[in-house]
Amino acid sequence: MIELAYTRATDAADAIRRGEGGNAKYLGGGTNLVDLMREIVEVPSALVDVTGLSAEIEQTDSGGLLIGAAARNTAVAEHPVVRARYPMLTRAIVAGASAQIRNMATIGGNLLQRTRCTYFYDTDGSRCNKRSPGEGCDAIEGFNRIHAILGASPACVATHPSDMCVALAALDAIVHLRSASGERTVALCDLHRLPENRPDVETVLEPGELITAVELPSSEIAAYSTYRKVRDRSSYAFALVSVAAALELDGDAVADARVALGGVAPKPWRAWRAEDTLRGRPATEATFLEAADEELADARPLAGNAFKVDLTRRTLVAVLQQLTEGGRR
């Protein structure tokens, strides 16, 4: 029998102490971890319940927002400041999963959720370098319709499944961390690693390091933002391609832009090249196409997901057109 100890942390310091030494994992809503445990993909011997840690959503002195890692997805999505000032984040969250899951899932857990690659889950039948480094990757020559076109490696082509993280990437979110050695912050865009030759190492977190909060910097442009998700079903399905975008116009030109892509990469994909292409250019379809092409220049489609390249291009253009027609400034 796989032994499992369970304790509940009272605060961050308590959680870190309880998580020390051995095979412990922090437990939030359990919406991913419990499933992975049942599939014997994750086999912790101890769970440290961190749902009692800060779930506060409070404005910072610099006009941003600090979201406790234990805040539930629904609570963040329905918060009046998020809806008014960071609408892409609300739209991203409510595009994800189902209401029941959003009620349970914590922000910290959403950041750390693992890929839904079917080969990753298939512990009995499939080779997976993420589960067993060096074993091989059956997705590359297999059914890879939902897999990555950007940022993948010969070792792993799996995607990061979170919608929320795509919006957080576009919003320059900052992740607050705490460990036995102290506290630090990491840009959300730097939290997740690309697979390269170690797809089993998914984040820059040290062993036992705890996510305590996510901070949204104060942002004018974020108020003019949206999130669009393209998927096989109209609800309750992961993204094939998704776009989080914000646009600030100066007359007919793009003054500033934020773009991130989901469903296409092993981590939430901040589209820096697209943004650079957009700034200062006329807010037209031609510009938007050029920005998309810049971002997709290094796309490496697989046999099963080549459609994602053009789908990403068209979705990005459509979202930027939508934001332009919204008449933001």
Binding site: L4, D35, L47, T90, V94, I101, S235
Partner: protein, 167 residues
Amino acid sequence: MPIIVNGREVAMPADARVSLLDFVREHLELYGTKKGCNQGACGACTVLVDGERILSCLALAVQYDGREVTTVEGLANGALHPLQEAFIVHDGFQCGYCTPGQICSAVGMAGELARGVPSHVTDDLTATDIALTHDELRERMSGNLCRCGAHNGIVDAITEVYAGPGA
């Protein structure tokens, strides 16, 4: 601390691996809540915790001490819950397997709507008074699958109770 299930205090299981779903079914013999997929994809296991809908298959029972859990068995209060009545009147089920999850989910959904929680199809995110349109209802209930295809009756039942003239 005990878990409170349908108003009754019960001791938590000793084994941390027991899901809230298995706890109510196997330990408490409340078989209304159903195990459809056991992986969070179907919604048949939906129960209410402090009035909020969750998936009991992904919930570990040990996380819920001190919380008030309501299963479908706990909805009737002398008489059937209005939504249970409506499901009968509008033929909102065929095999009945998804039905307890549908009903608990809809009760939770009504609470979220009353609170002004937006959905994927909500146009104006800043609006707090959201109408339960056909599209809103279907989106908000999208976490509950029905393989018999009783959706039309389910929609009619939920509409009558939460969006109709008497709602």
